[in-house]
Subunit: 338 residues, 2 copies
């Protein structure tokens, strides 16, 4: 008989901070680069196209001595029935024995580790003197992306938020997003200094930004190549399946592309369409190699850099590991006999 | 927030009977045949060859409105460290919404559903007048295979058990296996009438048996083709990865082969080596088609039939579903907030 720890969304939110997420995701990227972590083949199943699907991402992470999986399902008709569209569940195992260690709600983990991913792209690829941040997309990921980027780049002075399809949404969501950013920063002992405002015009906002984060479900380019000025960095987290794109593919003709996993980036990420249309041969490097100092990132103040975050199991495993340890030290979480 | 049911090995053993397992596995096989259940791609990871590996089998089962996965790991050095070599965990989800429903210890489920699989092969393919059963292998699966076969074929009069590599082990394990068979039958209201004895000689036992069950980890044939008399049925559950075999490949030149999933049978099951050596083109039918009456099974008393059970996720999902329902009706199991 095993004993397994059960951690609910609420319990995870009470211990897991952006600082934890940034440290965990950086570790995950480096482990992927050094071979200390492996991604196993992803399972994807579509119940009905555009209505319901799921994926199972799994792998192992030597540094934390764990393996595990995350199953995330999306049932688009759920909200009409009083259920959230997304459910995510993580199972974590001991890599020494195979014994199950923890069952966790993946929702809170996914939000923070995805915010951390976009921020890490900016931390390693944006110009150090960046002042202006633009968040494209006002959905559930916006607060964690903004907060994590402010956390890793404390020199940022202004944040614009833009909703490309429904521009008035940015102003409507401004207060809610700002409050959540402040809450996330406060949880790691930080107070926001950058102003957050709604953008009036996406094009103008792109033209004056140093760092751009994108997190939309778009299947068509939102940001035109000629809007992006030299020296800009873009971290894109929206594209996670074939056909999705947020950037004009032409931008990749004059940008350096980085990503979390080259195979995923070229098959389902923001790099997919530029790659398939012959504009982009491949990544300049995976981000883990840049963090580890094994590959160059930005090499001039004029370069445009793109970080394509498709999401890898190691981010979840590294995050889940730190959560299990923090929860244990504070006696948080249920324990069940299995 | 979701509520998830947690069911331990002990709780599952208290509700799940061989009768349940036989009904669930028959349903799973039929659903696979009718398309009411799908197997998703299997994930297999080898940490170190011959030392530690795992697989993740997943799929969905419309009749029970569930999807889910089973992760089974094998760490060969565990017993020396005071841990079982095998750990198995099942996660079950609601197919209407994607909401997680249950986390279950897979050990007790795997034993009974595997026993039921071998028995179902015999039920549909063995001669109805079969009297003599031979169990080849005295490991953990022997009791459930014997008991399930006695359950579905109450006309059996004698059971021999044989341990091919260490013949004296059969006599040593006889009492323990017999007790466990009796316990499993008693749990579904049956009393054993067939005598159970240890075989002195594997060849002689094979020559006089009507039904043969094999469950060993063998990588070389244990049963020679010329030992098997016309009219015999063999259900083989041992081979579950490339290279494993229990039957002389030459037997397939004069036997009709059936299986749970043709792709798995021909790539990792008992049929793999006969298929790769050109003796066996493919299955006569999947067992689900035979159960559903869509394909013939045995067509004469002289035929030799083989059922190759490689194990499919639908067996686990169907079993897990019935367990969740029985446990709920008896208020068994923990509930945790997720």
């Amino acid at each position: 008989m095993s004993e397994i720890k059960i951690l609910s969304a609420e319990q995870i939110e009470s211990v897991f901070t952006l600082q934890d997420a940034v440290e965990a995701v950086e570790q995950a990227y480096v482990q992927k680069h050094t071979g200390g972590g492996q991604l196993w083949p992803m399972v994807f199943h579509e119940f009905e196209h555009g209505v319901a699907d799921l994926d199972i991402k799994s792998g192992n992470l030597d540094a934390e001595n764990v393996f595990g999986l995350k199953l995330v399902s999306w049932f688009g008709e759920n909200p009409g029935k009083g259920h959230p569209a997304l459910y995510g569940t993580i199972l974590l195992f001991d890599q020494e024995t195979g014994e199950p260690r923890a069952l966790m709600n993946a929702g809170a983990i996914t939000d923070l580790r995805t915010g951390a991913a976009g921020a890490i792209g900016a931390k390693y690829l944006a110009r150090a003197d960046s002042k202006r941040l633009l968040m494209v997309g006002c959905g559930g990921l916006a607060p964690s992306l903004i907060a994590a980027t402010l956390y890793v780049m404390p020199g940022l002075e202004r944040v614009l938020i833009a909703s490309p399809r429904t521009p008035e949404k940015a102003a409507r969501k401004l207060a809610e997003i700002t409050d959540e950013v402040d809450r996330l920063l406060a949880a790691c002992g930080r107070k926001r200094t950058a102003a957050i405002e709604a953008a009036d015009c996406l094009e103008a906002a792109v033209r004056e930004s140093d760092v751009i984060l994108t997190a939309t479900p778009s299947y068509a380019p939102l940001i035109r190549a000629d809007w992006v000025r030299p020296g800009t960095h873009l971290s894109c987290v929206g594209a996670d399946m074939a056909g999705k794109e947020e950037l004009d593919a032409a931008l990749f003709a004059r940008a350096k592309a980085f990503g979390d996993d080259e195979t995923q980036c070229l098959s389902v990420g923001e790099c997919e369409i530029p790659h398939k249309s012959g504009i982009l041969a491949g990544l300049s490097a995976e981000i883990g190699a840049v963090i580890a100092g094994a590959a160059p990132g930005r090499t001039s103040a004029k370069e445009i850099t793109v970080f394509d975050s498709t999401g890898i199991a190691l981010q979840d495993l590294a995050s889940a590991s730190v959560i299990v340890k923090k929860a244990a030290s504070r006696a948080i979480g249920d324990t069940a006999a299995l």
